[in-house]
């Protein structure tokens, strides 16, 4: 028996190996810089609008200029070691570097597509190819900015659900509008939490209904076929609960709008205001320093929270919930009444079947059944 047990246990033991280690060495960073040296601008996709010291402004899908602080929850990055997950063109990573942070930017491996929802109407291989090309163009845009800004930020590419063992530890991790694009947001946050000592900053898109009290996530919200990378509409409540569970017990939330071009169409659409929320989760007692929120912003925050939290849809839903709860109570009362009746009837049936009359006439019923040929 022991031998069989040993065989079965060994059979199910899984081996573990890790790829993507060794990327933070100076040698490797130099090699990456050479790999992406002088990328032609037309081979880059700019996710962020970029502004360089020479005065050059390259338009992107998101223009976060002058709204960086609220996007990053008013955290003071001076002297902090930051892990930026999902850096795309890198606007925020370069901003944090300018604020005095040492930044490691993590993104998808080269020519690797992001998580794609296997929508039935999606031509999967075509989509995968398109998104793999997009990853490459985004990497090029990051290195374009890196060279222009003479940045010291380091790039690491790999699997966000299995960060390289030698990535190191950080004071702060940031996830700017990437959780909605990940098939497993909690797993990604868990990976970040393992490497982060002080704070995790999560910014994500506001989906209605905006929910703080419950940790709701909507699977593949909106119109699916066009957006195979939109996995989740995540509520601030869900992000808060996840960060709490991962040990970041102090939660601050900010609401803001940022300039965004719908479907990231840089040439063909103008900016609209996109509603976002930012949550700063901090580990007690390792708090980070914060910039004071400008007076003007305090009023805006209050107004946005009022508008979004008091969404008429929410009110309508709450009214519906109350109505349904009343209905449930009524049903429960009726069910209890019916159950009492059932017990009463069941007793009657049992009494009838166990009565002397019924037992006395059993032979008659038997004869009756025989005569009927049953």
């Amino acid at each position: 028996m022991h031998e069989i047990d040993g065989y079965i246990t060994d059979f199910y033991r899984e081996g573990k190996s890790h790829r993507y280690t060794g990327q933070l060495s100076d040698d490797f960073q130099r090699a990456l810089a050479k790999f992406y040296v002088d990328p032609p601008k037309d081979q880059c996709t700019f996710y962020h609008t970029m502004e360089f010291p020479c005065g050059e402004v390259v338009p992107g899908a998101w223009d976060l200029r002058r709204r960086e602080q609220v996007y990053l929850g008013y955290v003071d990055f001076s002297g902090q070691r930051v892990l930026e997950l999902g850096s795309a063109t890198g606007y925020l990573g370069f901003y944090m570097e300018a604020q005095g942070a040492g930044v490691v930017c993590f993104d998808l491996p080269i020519r690797t597509p992001p998580d794609i929802i296997p929508l039935p109407t999606t031509l999967r291989s075509k989509r995968l190819y398109e998104h793999a090309s997009l990853t490459e163009k985004l990497h090029k845009s990051w290195w374009y900015g890196h060279a222009k800004l003479n940045s010291k930020n380091k790039a690491v590419y790999g699997d966000i659900y299995n960060l390289p063992d030698d990535l190191g530890d950080f004071d702060i991790a940031t996830l700017g509008c990437i959780l909605l694009h990940l098939r497993d947001p909690f797993a990604a946050l868990q990976q970040a939490a393992c490497r982060t000592e002080k704070a995790i900053i999560v910014t994500d898109v506001v989906w209605t209904p905006l929910e703080m009290k419950r940790a709701l996530m909507e699977f593949n919200p909106g119109n699916p076929p066009e957006y195979p990378t939109n996995w989740w509409g995540i509520s601030p409540g869900a992000v808060s609960r996840m960060l709490n569970i991962l040990g970041f017990s102090s939660i601050d939330i900010y609401y803001h709008t940022q300039k965004h071009r719908p479907v990231h169409n840089i040439g063909g659409s103008s900016f609209t205001d996109k509603c976002l929320f930012t949550i700063v989760g901090q580990r007690h007692p390792h708090y980070v320093d914060r910039h004071p929120m400008p007076e003007s912003e305090v009023a805006i925050q209050a107004e946005l929270a009022r508008q979004w939290l008091a969404d008429p849809d929410i009110e309508a839903l709450n009214a519906r919930i109350s109505q349904l709860n009343a209905q449930i109570s009524q049903f429960n009362a009726e069910i209890s009444h019916l159950n009492l009746q059932i017990s009463h009837f069941q007793e009657q049936v049992d009494a009838l079947k166990s009565s002397t009359s019924w037992r006395l006439t059993a032979p008659i019923r038997l004869v009756g059944r025989i005569l009927k040929g049953r």
Binding site: T9, K34, A215, I342
Partner: protein, 364 residues
Amino acid sequence: MRTHPSAPIPDVKVDHARECIEKFYKPALPRKHPLTGQLTNEFQSLLSQAHADLTPGECYFYHTMEFSAGEVSQGGWDFRGGEDKYLGFVDFQGQKVLEFGPASGFFSFYLESKGAEIVCFDIAVGAPPEQLSLPEVDLAAYLESGAKIAKDTRNSWWYAHAKYNSKAKAVYGNIYDLPPDLGRYDVSTFGCILLHLSNPFAVLSQAAAVTDKAIVVTELVKAPLDLESSYIEFHPGDRPRSPGNWWGLSPGSVAKMLTILGFPEISLNYHAQKHRIDHDQANPLIDVPLFTVVGEKSKYLLKRLNARTSNLEIQKSPDEQSLIDAAIRNEILQHEIEALRSSTSWRLTQPIRTVADALKRWFG
């Protein structure tokens, strides 16, 4: 640090750097899946031998199980009499079924008795179930006890397997990475396991890849009840000390996931099943509301057991459904009483009862 074998050497030329970087990020070659070969008769026989001669004391019964000779093992869930509702009223006769998370196997052996060919997939031998790292719980202790419960639950499956002389096969492994030789199935079933998994969509994707006709998902009623919204709730708050409860799923979220995975013909029914809180034998059985979503491929619609899955009925909420169930039961009993009272036997013995009543009155 150059731990990776293809990490580049210092100060290389641009062309060489490109070559090194390409090589570094090149996808790893797929290696042989470690858990293949489990469906062979030899391996099944080995598993059976490894779980031979178990006593009930070595088993954890997740389900109440009824064996021959009146032996009943009490479990946390008692599904006796509620099987068809739980399984979406699907007719399993002649179907090849992959059951995910069979636990003690109540449904494995039920489905087998209904004419299905069963393969059960459960957690790898020696592994604990996934647990949320809640700050207030001792995760190591939960993982250890989880692994022990998984082992004892597996024992209970094999105990029942022997008792029923079952032909059902068992495969163990990682539900997010099914062995490639698992084969193809007509129907896959998930009975209250998605809430315990960190990534329900990934698991359904794995099932969809090996299922030809339908996926049956049963879950606890937790999140919004409608089919229109696809909400799931992360670690629903009513049980803060349950690290195994990852999600509350709405029927709409399950329906949407199944639709996306190519099972767009959705039907839904609500039902109540008997459950002991915390799976504790000391607790009484209470009714717990559940829902079952069946997603089918358009070209392979399965037969259903009766008309209870009509569109009218499947749209009812659990409370409405319980009310309907109670009302139906009430009506059936009333009919039964009327039939008994109008039967020849009852009418024939009327004089005896009259005499008996008179005697009772006479003697006080």
